[in-house]
């Protein structure tokens, strides 16, 4: 790092030079510092304040801890929380396993590997709204090609996005389709493992499973853990795919006045951010929405702190 610092001013003009240095740092950082106050500090403080009020954009009334008490009896909020935790517990590990599987498969392919890599990465690039519309279409039992093919083969696919017990598995399946982000990171990690380690293991008589268990896995475990933690943080924010899948499957749209209530079918796709959105921007219970926002902030910070602790390198001062 020492090589990168600005040259130290000669002794004697120290104070003046230091003040100039500080001004220069401030000037370069100023857009971000102002933004931090305006779009992070202030809203966070205001969220705490509004959480003690009842506010619908017109009238504001101080209500003490009422909103917090309401949370304890809000069965929709708990359902949204359970659904979000379901996604964290099922989708995150499955995507990780699937991403690792595809990455391992790609390391075994010499020719055409780059084409296949692009193919597996492609669905991740598709805008989430478009990918969801497409996925609901190809799996819908009426006109969808996948159920039709399955019928030819004598299998009946579930009605993923109209059946409350299949909607979250459907979303998970869609998450597996868009596994490209994990696949690329894990593939890079796998290719970084020194070949000499494998050669030595082969000489020692290690079989494929032993090579994977004792060489590959330890070498890529930091990347795996990083993907797991960021996966949890992302899934806690899971919003777009669930809402769009529900909208398309229900065949309802937003028209001003009668906005679509999230969760179709039967509240099974209602995630926590959707409930926050619904309370705040459809029912205009701004105060209560702030309580939900604070809860989300607390959980998110928990995992972010863990991320920063576990991966010193992520925020390290040094060049990597």
């Amino acid at each position: 790092m020492t090589a990168l610092t600005a040259p130290r001013a000669a002794a004697g003009t120290g104070t003046r030079a230091r003040r100039r240095n500080r001004l220069r740092v401030l000037a370069f950082l100023s857009p971000w510092l102002v933004g931090l106050g305006l779009f992070f500090g202030y809203p966070l403080a205001a969220t705490v304040y509004f959480s003690f009020t009842r506010y619908d954009l017109f009238t504001l009334k101080y209500v003490g801890f009422d909103n917090y008490r309401f949370l304890l009896h809000d069965s929709d909020a708990w359902r949204a929380m359970r659904n979000t935790l379901w996604l964290v517990a099922v989708m995150v590990p499955l995507r990780l396993l699937f991403g690792l599987g595809i990455a391992l498969l790609l390391t075994q392919i010499k020719r055409g590997g780059s084409v296949l890599r692009s193919v597996f990465y492609l669905p991740y690039l598709i805008p989430p709204v478009s990918a969801t519309v497409a996925f609901v279409f190809v799996t819908n039992p009426g006109t969808g090609p996948f159920p039709a093919i399955a019928r030819h083969l004598g299998v009946t696919l579930p009605d993923f996005f109209n059946d409350p017990s299949w909607s979250r598995p459907g979303l998970t399946l869609m998450g597996l389709w868009a596994v490209g982000d994990l696949m690329i990171l894990l593939l890079a990690a796998l290719l970084d493992v020194p070949k000499s380690l494998y050669e030595a293991a082969v000489l020692d008589g290690a079989n494929a499973w032993q090579r994977f268990r004792y060489i590959t896995l330890p070498s890529i475990s930091p990347v795996l853990a990083f993907c797991a933690v960021t996966g949890v943080i992302q899934t806690l924010q899971y919003f777009t795919q669930a809402l769009v899948a529900a909208k398309v499957a229900a065949g309802q749209a937003d028209t001003p006045g009668t906005q679509f209530a999230p969760g179709y079918p039967d509240g099974s796709t209602l995630t926590f951010p959707q409930w926050l959105y619904d309370e705040g921007f459809r029912q205009f219970n701004m105060g209560y929405a702030c309580v939900l926002a604070l809860l989300m902030f607390a959980v998110g910070m928990l995992f972010t702190t863990f991320l920063l602790r576990r991966f010193r390198a992520f925020a390290s001062e040094e060049a990597r």
């Binding site: 857009p31 971000w32 509004f50 392919i109 805008p127 519309v133 030595a200 926050l276 972010t304």
Partner: protein, 296 residues
């Protein structure tokens, strides 16, 4: 490694036996090759199938799109034209404005911040970096309510400005990505420029930034696609006049009375720009992805 037994030298197969075993090894290798490749190809077909079915449905007649047949009886490429009219054109223009302006704002505001975090030494620098990462991980829903209230005071709710203007004040993800790249540029270049009498701003603009072009391109791409794909932001703020493609396409099916062919045509049109840019700038993309991940 310690757990795998190391065979003693004497137990190694003698050269003669290796020779005899080689044919069996070869067939096993061939079988393995076939298994790996057929699995990969089968998966690739499944990954591409939804897109192919979308395209096939998009060119069907209205009536055929309501059946479960795969292959169009006749090809109606005009469906793309039918989908891309009226609302769709306005949504596209809104999406383009949102993405282009945001990207320009982010680059202008984030580059100096990343430069300072990478090159200047000052007290609180590591704290600043930690805050950047923490805000990067922050769900946008957390600060949404108070911000919405503020923007409504300025009478900007209903438009896309509440989503674009904050980008003038730096974006955490872009700052982080740029900083990771700038740290890796040797300081000697900048020092040489300074010896030649360049000010810090000139050094940044003339010497360091040209070298950071790949990272800047990656940041621009990521920001552009973030806005192009953003659904939550426009859903909260924009009224139907300011809807972007993402919001519009999500409501397309209901508005068009289950005309799956037009819905698929419209959806494909939203995907197209992303695909074109990806294939033109694949290297930039992959570089950017690995820059933001951890290593070792």
């Amino acid at each position: 490694m310690t757990a795998t037994a190391t065979p003693a030298a004497g137990t190694r197969p003698a050269p003669r036996r290796v020779h005899r075993r080689s044919r069996a090894t070869r067939t096993r290798r061939t079988l393995y090759w076939i298994a790996v490749h057929s699995l990969a190809i089968a998966l690739a077909v499944m990954f591409l199938a939804p897109l192919v079915f979308m395209l096939l449905t998009a060119v069907m007649t209205d009536r055929q799109a309501l059946t479960s047949s795969f292959w169009p009886h006749s090809w109606h490429w005009g469906n793309f034209h039918r989908a891309f009219t009226g609302d769709m054109v306005r949504w596209t223009l809104n999406s383009v404005m949102y993405s282009v302006l945001s990207t320009a704002f982010v680059l202008a505001s984030s580059i100096p911040v990343a430069y300072a975090l990478a090159r200047f030494r000052f007290r609180g620098r590591s704290a600043a970096l930690v805050i950047v990462i923490a805000t990067m991980m922050l769900p946008p829903q957390v600060t949404m309510v108070p911000l919405y209230i503020v923007w409504s005071r300025f009478h900007l709710t209903g438009t896309l400005w509440p989503l674009m203007l904050p980008n003038l004040f730096g974006d955490a993800f872009s700052i982080f990505l740029l900083r990771q790249f700038l740290v890796s540029i040797p300081a000697e270049y900048a020092d040489a420029a300074r010896v030649d009498g360049c000010g810090e701003l000139r050094t940044m603009l003339r010497v360091v930034l040209p070298m950071a072009r790949p990272a800047i391109a990656a940041v621009a791409l990521f920001q552009f696609f973030y806005c192009w794909n953003d659904y939550f932001g426009p859903l909260v703020y924009a009224n139907p006049n300011h809807w972007t493609l993402a919001v519009g396409v999500a409501s397309f099916r209901a508005a068009h009375h289950v005309e799956w062919n037009l819905t698929m045509a419209a959806t494909l049109l939203t995907i197209l720009p992303v695909l074109i840019v990806f294939f033109l700038a694949q290297r930039v993309f992959v570089q950017g992805v690995t820059l933001t991940g951890v290593k070792g």
